[in-house]
Every structure is written in C-alpha cells, then in structure tokens.
C-alpha cells in the first residue's frame, strides 16, 4: 500500500508542476524579448557615438563633408598620423603620462601611510582625522582659494603646481581604511614579535596584503588625472605644458571643421582608457562606486 501511494505521489507531482512551469516559460520569454529590445535601443545609443567616432576617423575630409553619417568607403589612416603631428600629440601625451604617473605614485604612497594608522587608531584623534576625510565630499569646492594658493606659491603655470593639486583624494583614503580594517590586527602583533619595524611592516607585509584596494585606488586616481580638463585649463597656460585633454580641445577649436582628424585624435586619447577599463573593469567599477556605498 505504502509503495503505491508513494509512487502515485511521485508521478502526480511532476505532472502538477509541469503545467505552471511551461506557462511561466512562455511568459518569461516575452519578458526577455522585451528586455532585449530595450537593451538593443540603449546599445545603439551607447555604441553608436563610438562607432561614429571610429567611422569618421577613417574618412577623408571631402567624404565627411559630403555625407557625415554615411559608412566610410576608405581606411584613411593618414588622419591618425596627421593628428599625431598637427595636434602635437607626442608632447601632450608625454605630459599627460608624466602628470598621471608622478601624481598617482606620490598620492598612493602618502595615502597608505595616512590610511594605515587611521584604520588601526595608531595616532591620537584618529577618528576625528578620518571624519575630516568623510566630510570632504560635502564641503564647498576648493577651486578659488586653491588658485590663490598656487598663485602665491609661484607655482601657477608650473608642472609642480598642477601635480600638487592631484596629491589629494579623500575617497582613496576611505577605500584604503575600510580595506585595511579587514586585515587582522594580530598580524601587527606577530610582526612586532618577530622584530619588524613600523615602516618595514607597511611596505613589506601590509602592501602585498592590500593589493586589491591599492589597485582600485590607483586606477580611480589615475583616471581622474588623465581625464582632467578643467584644472589644466585653469593652471597650465603654456602650450608646452598642456596635457592631452587640453591639447585636444585647443586642437578642436583650431581645426573645428576637420572632424576626421579630430575624431582620430579623440580615439587616440580614449583608447588607453578603454583598454585599461577592459582589463581592470572590476577595480574601475568598485573604485568609482566605493565612495557612495553607505556602511
């Protein structure tokens, strides 16, 4: 008796489940179709402008004038060499790289030595100092007094003055502090017992352990400098000091109608960022959103 009841149940159950499952599958599919339709429209909006950039960069100027939207018939790669030479690209690119690398390096090193004692409360008033970084996001912009400061220090239109502005980033400190807090404190104790000093501990033991946070902060900070236009516009007036962003906008002002060459130049500016983004996407996205997630 028992067995028959069980087998009855066993055969009844799948049958009872089957009907709603197939019904739901049909409905879900429609939802999916609709979703894909919306996503397709958005993809056109997000990919379209980029494809237009690539398309234009491969056209000749007369071709662009005749039909701006049409598909390119040529692979006019000369636009890239033109942009490279006429836009003074090698110089601007070197400047951008120099500013980005130097400022990011200096920032990350100083930031680790700020974040570690704050996370561990190794300095007095550590909580208060940390709060000063937290409130930074809600204070008025520092733009004008910053300019007065740089002006009075005699660093206006000097690379050092420009780099100085990028040695600060509260969000980077917040990311580092919260990551260091996940590293057990017993590690500090153990290191001390083995005779390790403070400086050596941070450099040789802590640094390798917080690599993901370092990567996130580095990428976030470097992107900010690489993309800066406004501060370069304010502080660097000599052509020889322009980073690539300002160089490109000035170039666009001069060659306003020659879109094929401008498009080629824009691509060359955007490409390093896109490649970086492709490979370090996880760090990039977590870096940009880290400051906004409430604890």
């Amino acid at each position: 008796m028992n067995t028959t009841v069980e087998s009855d149940l066993a055969s009844a159950q799948p049958a009872a489940e089957k009907a709603p499952v197939t019904m739901r599958r049909i409905r879900l599919n429609w939802v999916h179709v609709g979703s894909y339709a919306v996503l397709l429209v958005l993809t056109v909006l997000y990919l379209g402008p980029l494809l237009m950039l690539l398309n234009t960069a491969l056209k000749t100027l007369p071709q662009f004038m005749r039909d701006a939207a049409g598909l390119t018939a040529t692979l006019h790669l000369q636009n890239f060499t033109d942009a490279w030479q006429k836009a003074n690209f090698p110089k601007y690119m070197t400047n951008s790289l120099l500013y980005t690398i130097l400022a990011t390096l200096a920032y990350v090193i100083t930031a680790v030595f700020v974040a570690f004692p704050l996370a561990r409360r190794y300095v007095k008033a550590g909580n208060f100092l940390y709060t000063l970084f937290l409130i930074a996001l809600f204070l008025p912009p520092a733009l004008i007094p910053q300019f007065q400061l740089i002006l009075r220090l005699g660093l206006y239109n000097k690379p050092l003055g420009y780099i100085l502005l990028f040695l600060v980033n509260p969000i980077g400190i917040i990311i580092l502090v919260s990551y260091i807090k996940t590293i057990p404190k017993e590690l500090d104790e153990a290191a001390v017992i083995d005779g390790c000093g403070y400086f050596r501990f941070v450099i040789q033991i802590l640094l390798p352990l917080i690599k993901p946070a370092i990567a996130t902060v580095t990428v976030l900070h470097a992107i900010g400098i690489w993309n800066d236009y406004v501060l370069a516009n304010i502080y660097l007036t000599s052509k020889a000091l322009y980073p690539i962003t300002r160089g490109l906008i000035v170039f666009q002002g001069i060659y306003g109608t020659n879109w094929p060459v401008i498009a080629a130049a824009t691509l060359m500016l955007a490409l390093p960022m896109m490649v970086l983004y492709l490979f370090l996407q996880r760090y990039v996205i977590s870096g940009f959103t880290a400051g906004s997630v409430r604890g």
Binding site: L42, P141, Y198
Partner: protein, 309 residues
C-alpha cells in the same frame, strides 16, 4: 588602542609618516575648501601679488540684487534647479529600469553592464567630443534621423533651450551607468527566495516590484537619489566644453567658473578673474546644495523609518 611597534622615540614614527599626506590634505583641499567662505567677503582677483580687501557682503549684494547681472544669476539658479530636476529623475528611473533588466538571467548582461558604465571613465573631454560629432548638425547620424521626420535641429549650436536639452541628455548618458551599477549591487542583495515566495502567494510582477523589490532597495534608492541630486546641482563641466559661455544656458557652477577664471569664448557678462565674486557665487551654490541635499536626506530617512516600523 594598543600599539605594538616600538616604544620611546619610535612611538612617533606613525605620526612622522602620516604627516605628508595629512599636510597635503589640509593645505590643498580642506583649507581651501573652508577658505571659500572667507574669500567671498573680499575683492580678490587673479593677478599675481594683487592686493585683497575685505568688502563685507558687497559680493553677495551684487550677486543677488544688482540689476541685469542679478537677473541673469537668478535665471542661472532656476536653470540649475531645472537641470537637477530632469537629470536626477530621468537618470534615477532609467538606471533602476536598466538594472532590473540586467538582473534577469539574460545572455550578455556583463557586456551591457560594461558598455553602459563606460562613459563614466571616459571623462568630459572625450564625452564632449564624441557627442559634438554624433550631434553634428550638417548631416550627422542624429540629424539624419530628425530629417526623416521632416524636421531640422541645430542641437548644441541651436537655440539656448535646444542646447540646454542636449546637455541634459548627454549628462544622463554619461552617468546613467553609475546609477545602474549601484542599483545592480542593491538588487543582488535581494534573495531569490523572497521574490519566489511573493510569486507563490500570487503577487503579479508589478506587485512584486512595488511591495518587495522597491522597499528592499531602499539603501540604493537613497544613495542614488542623494548622489544624483547633489551631482547634478554641481555639474557644469559639460557646459564649458559643449556650449561655452552663452546667454540662456549657464548653470550656477559655470557662473562660478566664468567669473573666477574668465571665459575666452565670446562672453558679454563674464569679467575675468573676479575671484571674490566667484567665491560668493560658489557659496550660494553650496547653500543651495546643502538645503536641497539635507531636505532630501530628511525625507528619505523618514521614509526608511516608516518602512522599518
């Protein structure tokens, strides 16, 4: 708190090493930020070694009450609110909608997520140039589509309202991915079982969203709303590159920049390097952000308490 690294003189090593970063922060960021209020009471200029005088509330009086300039300033203030309203609402809704789409078991969600987030890393320069080209008024792709409807638009070079609308669109395009990523993170904390349970109880798709997903999303809703509102109130860089200083398009953030740092591209009202006046404008914007930000925060908190009760 216990401290393990050495005693005596070596106790000071953390202080010594924290100093460079801390000093930089005070001198380059925190100090100047607070000093904005001080500068707003002076007639500081951008001239090297120029004298600075205390002029009390003169900058504020001029900004808020004097003739044509004050009228332009109020117009800019109103425009800032308009910009904030459209950008935050559309960006919020679109970001949530796209996050919901990508939270399903679809193929290619990783690709879509990466694509929609990408503008966030491209920066204002590249974004501006890309859209100047895409909105090219002489036969560009968007213009071609507009032509199909027998119409013609100048986009960024058109009437102030037309150019302003374009910047609103581009601002949303550039930042929607950010809102989306935060919503996606929020959606992923909602367990499938809760949704499944609601469905078994017979809730429709809309009811599941209204009574399960939406309340559980509260933390990301609050974060996104506050960030969108504050961010759009302070935004101005796209205006600088996309249109330049043109009457009928400026927002407050741009007025600050234009007054304090001069503006090369054909301006009528912007005098160059009036830093004290610019600082006053900056404080007006700051107060606006503070009032709207705090009000929003207050209502969001009240809502959260109601939901939890």
């Amino acid at each position: 708190m216990s401290y393990y690294f050495g005693r005596g003189n070596s106790r000071w090593i953390p202080y010594l090493l924290i100093l460079p970063g801390m000093l930089l922060y005070f001198i380059v960021a925190l100090g100047p930020s607070l000093a904005t209020a001080v500068y707003s009471f002076t007639d500081a200029t951008g001239i090297t070694g120029g004298a600075v005088h205390w002029i009390g509330l003169e900058n504020y009086r001029e900004f808020l009450t004097m003739g044509m300039a004050a009228r332009d300033n109020y117009a800019a203030l109103l425009r800032t609110l308009k910009f904030c309203f459209f950008v935050s609402i559309i960006q919020f809704a679109l970001g949530l909608f796209v996050a919901m789409l990508l939270n399903q078991r679809l193929k290619g969600t990783k690709f879509f997520r990466a694509l929609f987030f990408m503008p966030v890393i491209l920066g204002v320069t590249v974004i501006s140039l890309i859209w100047m080209l895409f909105l090219y008024p002489l036969g560009g792709p968007v213009e071609k589509v507009v032509e199909l409807f027998g119409s013609h638009l100048e986009f960024l070079g058109g009437q102030p309202n037309e150019a302003f609308a374009c910047v609103i669109f581009i601002q949303i395009w550039a930042n929607m991915g950010f809102t989306m990523v935060i919503f996606l993170a929020g959606l992923q904390t909602i367990s499938d079982e809760v949704i499944e349970a609601a469905r078994i109880d017979g809730a429709s798709g809309w009811q599941v969203f209204r009574y399960v997903t939406w309340p559980l999303l509260t933390p990301s809703v609050n974060t996104n709303l506050v960030l969108n509102i504050i961010g759009s109130l302070q935004a101005w860089q796209l205006f600088l590159i996309l249109i330049g200083y043109r009457n009928g398009t400026q927002v407050l953030g741009y007025v600050v920049y234009a007054q304090a740092f001069g503006q090369v591209s054909g301006s009528t009202t912007a005098n160059s390097f009036r830093q004290g006046y610019g600082a006053a404008a900056s404080i007006v914007l700051f107060v606006l952000v503070l009032v709207i930000g705090l009000t929003t925060d207050y209502f969001l908190r009240r809502r959260e308490e109601r939901l939890l009760a």
